[in-house]
């Protein structure tokens, strides 16, 4: 089965590991050792000094909407694929995509009813206060 010799692969494997080790090792050996100074921990050693924290609160709804966007966007891709081949797929394709869209509609209704689409004021049912 193994007429083509395997050892080059093995050599290659180890060569990759060796290369990585050499680069890391050399850089830690040869590279300059910086002592800890105030400037060392700053994002930029020169230029504008940053002001404030980068960790500002972003509303959770933002992520929720982003997720919905991804999901529905992806589903649009499926519908697009069907639309391209609309005539080839015929009635069966039409029925299939109807079912697909129906499921999407149900999911949308569910999201709506659960209050997932509300922004700001919590109208969501059944949330623990």
């Amino acid at each position: 089965m193994t007429e083509s010799p395997l050892w080059p692969l093995v050599v290659y494997f180890f060569a990759v590991i060796a290369l990585v080790l050499i680069i890391l090792g050399l850089s830690s050996l040869v590279g300059p050792r910086s002592t800890m100074q105030r400037a060392t921990i700053e994002p930029f050693e020169s230029g504008v000094v940053g002001i404030g924290s980068s960790q500002i609160p972003i509303s959770v709804e933002f992520y929720l909407i982003a997720m919905f966007f991804v999901i529905f966007d992806l589903e649009t891709v499926y519908i697009f694929a069907w639309a391209v081949a609309f005539f080839e797929l015929g009635l069966f394709g039409y029925l299939a995509i109807s079912v697909f869209i129906l499921i999407l509609v149900v999911a949308l209704i569910y999201e709506w009813k659960s209050g997932a689409l509300d922004w700001g004021v919590k109208k969501r049912v059944g949330l623990r206060e």
Binding site: M1, E3, W112, K113, L127, R128
Partner: protein, 483 residues
């Protein structure tokens, strides 16, 4: 698409539409009892929807789905497991506040994924089922807010599953690159047709698919996630993961490798033997001094999957595939019963404690004095896991052993024996802990639904341990219509 083919899709259609209905009910009339009732009805209806086609097996509905006796058996197991987990989860989640309904929807979705997996005959449906099963499972794991590590478990499982899915996809891609086909049946005998370089890539691809499946089955060396996830996940979800998820994936693996003929490839079997041996050894050794009951069960499941892999290897080696598949199926059946029962005991114990799951061995001390019936049930389970006669676990292990001996796979058998020997130690450790003097005399309430689950499973465990022939006959009958 003929009527018969449509019929073959009936279970999937039934379950899907009931999930949608349940979703609407949750949206408009949120009520936990109602939701759970719909879940139970959905599972029962799905089971019923298999019956009309029993006489017409096997049916291929589209290239993706192949319904045969094999799929039927495993679908039954999946539905049984899902039903039991539904009951357990109901008790587990009932007093955990509102908005628990979605959990049961996810459970049904997961179950749908498992059903697709067991009857899948194509890489596309394979991946589809796998992801449906997996994605719902991650959410189920992190759904209950109790417990400290649910989120950690879910994340670990999610990310590592991603790695394994990558393996599978890459493997499938390699095979497609050589053969240009993705259906299992079409791929049959592929190893005979290709040139040497193609063979090499094919082997590589199959190994990668294998590795992905091994991860899901928690076979060594892809097992490291198991204890963390078992421990972190809520007890009923762990039960689902250990039984339905693993069972469905095992069924798929069995179908994939027998239908495509990959199982006859010696190099693959060599790898699989290695995996089986390492799993048996690693699982049993890791469980040895463990003090966490859920982790012990996790390690024990690693070892059990190792035993199951032995059946797989033997199926390839001896050519006695039907026999090996019977053995594996019975073993898996026994494993289902036993594991579900073990986790139902853990669930019952955990419900009493509202903060976290009761997993510490110390919490089980004196159970014989506090709740003799529960302790007796747990003892039966552990004995079954250890493979002590008069339990289903014994018949399962005996089955594995007999095919192993028939195939003269002595090395594998040696590992099975050593593993079983080590196993008895830690199973007995739990039993001994239960006989110690109790630390508290707080009464353990047994919830109704979970209690009945435990009763039904215990009865079956002992019944099929003493009188296994009905199940063995059933399996034998169903396996005939395989392929």
């Amino acid at each position: 698409m003929s009527g018969l083919q449509l019929q073959a899709l009936l279970p999937i259609i039934t379950l899907s539409s009931l999930i949608l209905i349940q979703m609407m009910f949750i949206a408009f009339a949120r009520n936990l009892r109602l939701t759970v009732s719909i879940s139970v009805i959905a599972l029962l209806l799905t089971a019923l929807s298999f019956f009309p086609m029993v006489d017409h097996l096997p049916i291929s509905a589209t290239p993706l789905i192949q319904l045969d006796g094999f799929a039927l058996f495993y679908s039954g197991l999946v539905l049984l497991g899902a039903l039991m987990v539904t009951f357990l989860s109901y008790d587990y989640l009932r007093d955990q506040g509102e908005r628990q309904d979605e959990f049961f929807m996810l459970l049904l979705l997961s179950c749908l994924g498992a059903l697709i997996l067991v009857s899948s005959n194509h890489f596309a449906s394979f991946i589809l089922g796998l992801e449906l099963l997996g994605v719902s499972l991650y959410t189920m794991m992190s759904y209950p807010t109790r417990g400290l590590f649910t989120l950690e478990a879910a994340l670990k499982y999610l990310i590592l599953s991603g790695v394994s899915s990558a393996f599978i996809l890459f493997g499938a891609a390699l095979i497609y690159a050589i053969e240009g086909k993705l259906g299992f049946t079409e791929l049959a005998g592929m190893n005979h047709t290709s040139a040497a370089s193609g063979q090499f890539i094919l082997l590589m691809g199959s190994t990668m698919i294998f590795a992905g499946i091994m991860f899901k089955l928690s076979l060594a060396p892809f097992h490291l996630w198991t204890p963390d996830v078992y421990d972190g996940a809520p007890a009923p979800v762990t039960a689902f993961l250990a039984t339905v998820s693993k069972g469905a994936i095992f069924a798929l693996a069995l179908r994939l490798f027998t239908t495509t003929g990959l199982i006859d490839l010696d190099p693959l079997l060599r790898g699989l033997s290695f995996v089986a041996m390492v799993s048996i050894l690693a699982g049993n050794l890791l469980a040895l001094l463990q003090d966490n009951v859920k982790r012990i069960l996790a390690y024990s499941s690693i070892a059990h999957m190792g035993y199951l892999a032995v059946a797989f290897v033997v199926a390839g080696k001896a050519g006695g595939q039907i026999m090996a598949m019977e053995a594996a199926s019975y073993f898996l059946f026994a494993y289902f019963l036993t594991t579900l029962l073990a986790f139902s005991v853990v669930t019952i114990m955990s419900i009493a404690d509202h903060e976290v799951d009761t997993t510490n061995l110390g919490d089980y001390e004196g159970l014989f004095w506090r709740r003799p019936a529960l302790a007796a049930v747990f003892t039966a389970t552990l004995l079954s896991l250890a493979g002590i006669p008069l339990t289903a676990g014994f018949i399962g292990k005996f089955y594995i052993f007999s095919i192993g001996v028939a195939a003269e796979a002595w090395l594998l058998m040696a590992f099975v024996v050593i593993g079983s020997g080590i196993g008895i130690f830690y199973y007995l450790r739990i039993i001994f802990a239960m006989t110690k003097a109790p630390r508290t005399d707080v009464k353990i309430e047994i919830p109704t639904a979970s209690g009945w689950v435990a009763v039904v499973l215990t009865v079956s465990l002992v019944l099929f341990g003493v009188y296994p022939s009905p199940i063995i006959d059933l399996i034998g009958e169903l396996m005939i219509s395989f392929g």
